[in-house]
Amino acid sequence: MIEPLYELFFARYNYWMAIILMLIGLYALIAKQNLVKKLIGLNIFQTAIFLFYISLGEVRGGTAPIYLPEGVDALYVNPLPHVLILTAIVVGVSVTAVGLSLIVRIHEEYGVIDEADLVQELRRR
């Protein structure tokens, strides 16, 4: 009886966590009024994707894909998702950097970070 439930949830534990994290990130992105919190939501969203990728490459009992000296054959984890995620992290950092500098510039210009106040500010100006 437990078999299908186990198969459904626990066997795919990592994918479930990725999906949950992603939804939390998206929720923060959409629902939060404060712009900085939106960016934090964006980061959570991207972290979820990284988790999804890394868990893709996981091999049971595999070690980190580092080149060991001759003679030692070890079961390596699939290195490709790790490399892809390295680039994705770079992208995530630069997008967050641009976002933050935009928020700084918006704050300088309108003096307010909250979206509701921003809308009034725009209407007033």
Binding site: A64, I66, Y67, L86, I89, V90, A97, L100, S101, V104, E108
Partner: protein
């Protein structure tokens, strides 16, 4: 951030070690875990620590904005020129094998990979620090 002696001394002690570790990570890109990007970020972390401890103006004197621009340009130029150099002996872009066979030096492509990693490390370090410079010098001095 009051002038806190404890933070200053600890950071003065630890910064060099952070930087050495960063170099270690950069250089070990080819074979082990690590590489240009991670090493560059760690190197930038050391600068961030200095900014927090000693304030932006002091760090800016040592590592001015002009240097940042020059270094970030330098890093990518290293990367691209090595890549383009491989074209000359007929290989494709970043095809180190062609240079190795052309010059006949064994393990040359290993050194080339390390050189590329160093280039990337320099660029990432410079860019990260410039991000922190932009962020922190807005609205009053983060002494």
């Amino acid at each position: 951030m009051r002038k806190n002696v404890i933070i200053k001394t600890i950071s003065r002690l630890s910064v060099p070690f952070i930087q050495v570790f960063a170099l270690y990570v950069i250089v070990h890109g080819a074979l082990g875990a690590g590489g240009g990007f991670q090493g560059g970020v760690v190197f930038a972390a050391s600068f961030i620590l200095m900014i927090i401890a000693f304030g932006l103006t002091c760090v800016r004197q040592r590592f001015s904005y002009r240097w940042i621009v020059a270094l970030s340009a330098l890093g990518i130029t290293i990367y691209a020129t090595i890549g383009l150099l491989c074209l000359i002996p007929g290989g494709s872009y970043l095809g180190y094998g062609s240079i190795e066979t052309a010059l006949g030096v064994p393990h040359l492509h290993g050194y080339l990979i390390d050189a590329v990693e160093v280039g990337i490390g320099i660029t990432v370090m410079a860019t990260m620090t410039s991000i922190i410079y932009d962020m922190s010098d807005r609205g009053g001095e983060s002494s």
